[in-house]
Symmetry: C2
Subunit: 204 residues, 2 copies
Amino acid sequence: MKQIEISRATMGRIPIYLKYLKDTDLCTENISATALAKGLGLGEVQVRKDLGAVSGAGRPKTGYNVSELINVLENFLGRNENSSVVIVGAGKLGRALLDYSGFQEYGLDIMAAFDAAVSEPEKSNLGKPIYSMDALDSFCKENNIRIGVIAVPAHSAQEICDRFIRNGIRAIWCFAPCVLSVPPEIPVQYENMALSLAYLNKKI
Amino acid sequence: MKQIEISRATMGRIPIYLKYLKDTDLCTENISATALAKGLGLGEVQVRKDLGAVSGAGRPKTGYNVSELINVLENFLGRNENSSVVIVGAGKLGRALLDYSGFQEYGLDIMAAFDAAVSEPEKSNLGKPIYSMDALDSFCKENNIRIGVIAVPAHSAQEICDRFIRNGIRAIWCFAPCVLSVPPEIPVQYENMALSLAYLNKKI
């Protein structure tokens, strides 16, 4: 459960550390938090805090062994335990999510999308399958889908949510502006793409 | 500045209250927090807290005057002061953001997208313009653009960011996995679409 206690901000920077460690030709076996902070233009205290939370402190003088650190960060992000996800609603948002590459960084596998407007199976730009709603139930069961994403209008969201739960889905990521009623053991994450932008706008 | 102090969670529920107040045939001039909570399946304490933070307490017995409450909530969301936004990067994410209707709820107007791969002006599915990068500078100045959205790969993000700032943009919403260097007066909101899903996955 350690991961849960790690702040969202820290979790958001882990892929940035990983990318730097993997893509930069460091020409060294070890790297210090100082060097990492410098290389990324982040505060040294922040980097120490982030890495400390995920992988413990670096060794005095030598810092972190690069390959060990990469391994720890990847395990933290769950790259080594794939989690299967499906999306219902293959509008522009659903398709953007379906082809969004960033999920892989967190070991999340968006396997397919389903849409009421689709009759014959289609492929997304990146070749992910988009099926008709008829295919949803069997697909969820056969692929042991863990998370269901709701990218349909609010008026259909509860129906999709109930269907996800009947098919053994264990968590819901909801982009519809609504409140879902779910059993207490099913976590729901509501997403509002406009909210961050509205927040930013109020900061100006 | 009151808005800033309001939690993201509260801010996220305001459009839900608004939608309910406007779309439901309440057949009444006033509504109590209790009735609103019941209608939305939310906790009464939460509703009182949310509405209290934005518009003050309802009147004892009568509750809130519906049209006044709608007005207060809309003003809070800034529906009456449009904020102009442009996106650089018209890939699937950029186009999804360009056509995403949810921004209007917060008084945000995504006016256009710009992309290096576009030579002749195009239109999005909902008819929003997509221009070549050559058009960016003049468009930002002529339309007094307030916020710039970065939906390009990490390696081009800083260049776009600098160009936004040269063109008078006052805040940056960044979807690229990178750290931007900006003057202290320019707020940057980093977005990581994978993060919420990864968080949800760790809650299961």
